[in-house]
Structures are given as structure tokens and as C-alpha cells.
């Protein structure tokens, strides 16, 4: 009476079967084993066996670098990374250059690119230059005149802005009537701030009396020089009129004036 093996169900003779039936039983068993292992036949060098279906012993020979595996050949050089160009579609992204950072960019094939970060990052303070001047400078001219306060800065990027902060003590006075003074801040020969419009003069005095004004105001402006060359900033003053002994003294009594230039990253 034949029985079957516990795992594969191959027919085998029982221990009580007659010897004369043994050859048939062995033939039957051999055929069963042969049928079960038929998928192991074939294949080529380098192939591996993969399940074809969920059925037991249902295999197929496949290439070791089948389409569902990441291939060694996808990368070519040190630093290459693998990114997707679409669903289930890996691709090589070559390494960038030193100090570049990986940046999302939907216009590229992989949606990524290596890019140089903005210097210091946006809105960051990149450098500060400070200068002082304390020599009294008397101006009685109606033309803009250097006050002696100046500073230079070389931006690290053409997109940077320069925050100009000036504190400058002055003494404005006249002996008889009214006088007025105005200033301008210049970068090189380019005027970036003016106060000499009629309503922006600093006035002192009224009527037939002498008058004086001592101030140490802070003047702030933001410049966009679009340059990486050395830039010189300075403040100049002039009088509206020299009548009535109008006079303005910058750094009067040798009080210290200061100019601070800050480069702000774009």
C-alpha cells in the first residue's frame, strides 16, 4: 500500500509492501521528484533562481541584475548618488563641486541639483566695518564738503546690501539770523542719501538773534551697490547760505563721529 512523503506528497511504498513492487514504487517516486524539480533545470551563468508564483516549487531563472534591483553600473564616480526620475525609475546624479549643497529643483530630471548656497545665507550679517573721526571740521560752504568721516568695505557678493549707520556730532550756529545745513551720504561719487531739499535742511535760529544747535544724530540708510569692489562711503555737509555767519562744525570740540558699514547677505 503506497503512501506519500510529508512535504511534497511524493508516492513512496510503505515498509510492508512486497519487494516485487519496489521497482514500480521507485520509478513512481523518481518521476515525482523529477516533476517537482523541473524548474531547476536550465538557467545560465550568473542567473539566480526566483519564485515564479506562490505555488510550491514554481521557480524561474532570472538575471542576477534584474530590473527590480539597483545596478552597480548606475554609478560611475565617487560621490554619485541615486535619485528617481519617476516612479520606480532610479537614475544617477553626479556629485557636485566642493561646498555645494543638494537642492530641490523640480525643473531637473531628478528633481535635485547641486548648487552653491548663497554666501552666508539670506539676510545674514556678513561683515562689519567701523571707522571713527574726531577732528573738528568747520564748513561754511554752500557746496557739499567732506566732513572727514569715511569708511570702505568690499562686499563679498554683488547681491549684498550695505547698511550704513552714521553718528556724527555737530554744532550749527549763526550770529544774526537763521541758517540751515544739509548733508548727503555718498558711495564713491554716487549720492545715495540727500537732505538738502528745502524741507530737509536742519534749521537753526529765527529773527534777529544768534542761535545755536548741538546734536549728535544717528543717520541710517540701506544701499544696494551691486558690486564686489572696494566701496568708500562718506558723509558731506553744506550750508544753505553763508549769510549771517552761518557755520556748521562737524566733530565739534573733537567729539568722536563714527561710521559703521554692515554687509547684509541677499
Amino acid at each position: 500500500m503506497a503512501t506519500t512523503t510529508p512535504n511534497f506528497g511524493w508516492a513512496v511504498p510503505t515498509s510492508t509492501d512486497l519487494v516485487k513492487d519496489g521497482a514500480v514504487a521507485i520509478e513512481t517516486l523518481g518521476d515525482s521528484i523529477d516533476a517537482s524539480l523541473v524548474d531547476l533545470k536550465g538557467g545560465t551563468t550568473g542567473q539566480v533562481l526566483a519564485k515564479a508564483t506562490n505555488t510550491d516549487m514554481d521557480f524561474t531563472w532570472v538575471a542576477q541584475d534584474d530590473s527590480n534591483a539597483i545596478q552597480n553600473a548606475i554609478v560611475d564616480a565617487k560621490g554619485d548618488i541615486i535619485a528617481a526620475t519617476a516612479n520606480d525609475t532610479p537614475a544617477r546624479l553626479a556629485v557636485g563641486t566642493n561646498n555645494q549643497v543638494l537642492t530641490a529643483d523640480s525643473t531637473t530630471a531628478t528633481g535635485l541639483k547641486w548648487a552653491t548656497p548663497a554666501a552666508g545665507g539670506g539676510g545674514k550679517l556678513l561683515q562689519v566695518v567701523n571707522a571713527t573721526y574726531s577732528t573738528a571740521t568747520t564748513v561754511t560752504s554752500t557746496s557739499f564738503t567732506d566732513s572727514g568721516l569715511t569708511a570702505s568695505i568690499t562686499p563679498t557678493s554683488a547681491t549684498s546690501k550695505i547698511l550704513v549707520m552714521i553718528q556724527q556730532p555737530y554744532y550749527l550756529y549763526n550770529l544774526i539770523d537763521q541758517t540751515a545745513a544739509g548733508y548727503q551720504i555718498v558711495r564713491g561719487s554716487t549720492n545715495i542719501v540727500t537732505t538738502y531739499n528745502e524741507n530737509n535742511y536742519v534749521y537753526v535760529g529765527s529773527g534777529a538773534n544768534a542761535a545755536q544747535l548741538r546734536l549728535s544724530p544717528t543717520i541710517i540708510t540701506l544701499d544696494s551697490p551691486a558690486s564686489t569692489s572696494s566701496l568708500t562711503y562718506k558723509i558731506q555737509w553744506k550750508l544753505k547760505s553763508t549769510a549771517n555767519s552761518g557755520t556748521i562744525i562737524l566733530q565739534s570740540d573733537s567729539d568722536v563721529a563714527s561710521i559703521i558699514l554692515m554687509e547684509i547677505g541677499a
Binding site: 573738528a136 571740521t137 568747520t138 561754511t140 550770529l175 553763508t242 549769510a243 557755520t247
Partner: protein, 81 residues
């Protein structure tokens, strides 16, 4: 002792100069007739007398105006106030 800018106001009342520091060498005569160093240095000695003269002239002028108007200085202040 007069201050350097007071002396220059006396000597060049209509301005037109720039002075860096308080020395004669620091003066640039931009839009005025230059003065000499001797004039500048002598100006310190002359200033006090000149200032007294200016103040006296100013007071006399004020008194003459008040007399012409027939009011006192306090009354003038009230009018201006």
C-alpha cells in the same frame, strides 16, 4: 579766549571756507577771499574787542528801535510773545 570759529566768523562773516581742525593750515578758502595766517592769529586778540563792539552796536540799535516805537523792552517781548 575766542574760539577759532568765532575768529573766522569775525574775519570772514560771509563764510565760504572749510576748516579741518583749528589751525590756519587746516583752512581751505573755497568760496571766499583768503586771509593770511597773521590775520588769523591776530584775530584771537582782536575778537573780544570786536565782540564788545558788536554787542554794543546791537544794544544801541535795539534801544533806538524801542525809543522810536515808544515802548519798553518788556513791552516789546509781550508783543512778540
Amino acid at each position: 579766549m575766542a574760539k577759532y570759529y568765532e575768529v573766522l566768523n569775525m574775519l570772514i562773516p560771509n563764510g565760504g571756507y572749510v576748516q579741518v581742525g583749528d589751525t590756519y593750515e587746516g583752512i581751505s578758502f573755497v568760496d571766499c577771499e583768503p586771509i593770511t595766517k597773521a590775520d588769523y592769529e591776530a584775530g584771537f586778540d582782536k575778537y573780544d574787542a570786536w565782540k564788545l563792539q558788536q554787542d554794543a552796536a546791537k544794544s544801541a540799535n535795539k534801544a533806538a528801535i524801542l525809543e522810536r516805537l515808544g515802548i519798553t523792552e518788556d513791552e516789546a517781548k509781550l508783543l512778540l510773545g
